[in-house]
Subunit: 136 residues, 2 copies
DNA sequence: AGTAGTTTGGTACTTTAGTATGACCTCTAA
DNA sequence: TTAGAGGTCATACTAAAGTACCAAACTACT
């Protein structure tokens, strides 16, 4: 948040500076009006692109990162988290067991524990909840 | 494609017009330089935002929205898509039936069709595939 | 009016998921 | 050293999920 404020302050300052420079440059006749307008146009074109990209990142799908704090808050263990990730890949219990070199029983135990910790009734609901918590 | 060329031609013409108007307005002293620069800045800011949005739409799917083209490409019907969305909310077949005022049998039919169309073996896999296609 | 596609629902069945419980092992901190 | 936590696996069970049919009704288009 602080970074955003800093960036915007600098941006506004730069724009004001640009305005003043261009104004005096034109009045003193040291620069042609076409060049000033061209520079202004290019600068604001870039700013427009930048702002748009930012806003898309903000309310977009773009991954923000995983909330590791939440994972430990929910007391989800490393093994359980591995299983959760495998579930999100759409694997069955047997396939997860295969992938992690464990028996299907073990996976079932982990899944059961996960469902309790995530307060879910099904693995699909666990997925939805985990996503809302930003832990996958 | 023709539309794009037309839009760009008009845009370039408008920009050139703007340049000339602003130049003569300043030289004749009928408008203050600050106002001209401000207008130029705003216009190019908007153009920048517009171009960026266009380019995002162009190379693949827009990072924000849903790839509706892909949905129809996969021949997923409206009802099936509703069911797919309900699955992504972590609902069971019975709950989906409840939500859409349909029997569980009907939901099972829709789910089965969805799995075939998405080439998935399980609903969790369907979810993962649907996400990779950006249709949910 | 007939055809194709969608939607809805059913039965009967197999497979997968999930629960409950108990057992054994390993590691770590009190 | 012993209690606790994490991990592993098993059995037995119930509940969902998914498959494979079938059939009727309801569009929309020709």
């Amino acid at each position: 948040m602080k970074k955003t404020i800093l960036v915007f302050s600098l941006l506004i300052f730069a724009i004001l500076l640009l305005f003043q420079i261009s104004k005096y440059a034109v009045l003193s006749g040291s620069l042609k009006i076409e060049i000033i307008i061209g520079v202004i146009a290019i600068v604001f074109l870039i700013i427009g692109i930048y702002i748009n990209k930012k806003s898309l990142h903000k309310n977009g799908v773009s991954s923000v990162g995983i909330d590791y704090k939440k994972i430990s808050e929910l007391e989800i263990t490393a093994r359980e988290y591995e299983v959760l990730q495998a579930i999100s890949e759409g694997l069955s219990n047997k396939e997860i067991g295969n992938k992690l070199c464990l028996s299907e029983s073990t996976i079932k135990t982990h899944v059961s524990n996960l469902l309790v910790k995530l307060n879910a009734k099904r693995r699909t609901q666990a997925l939805q909840i985990a996503k809302s918590y930003k832990i996958i």
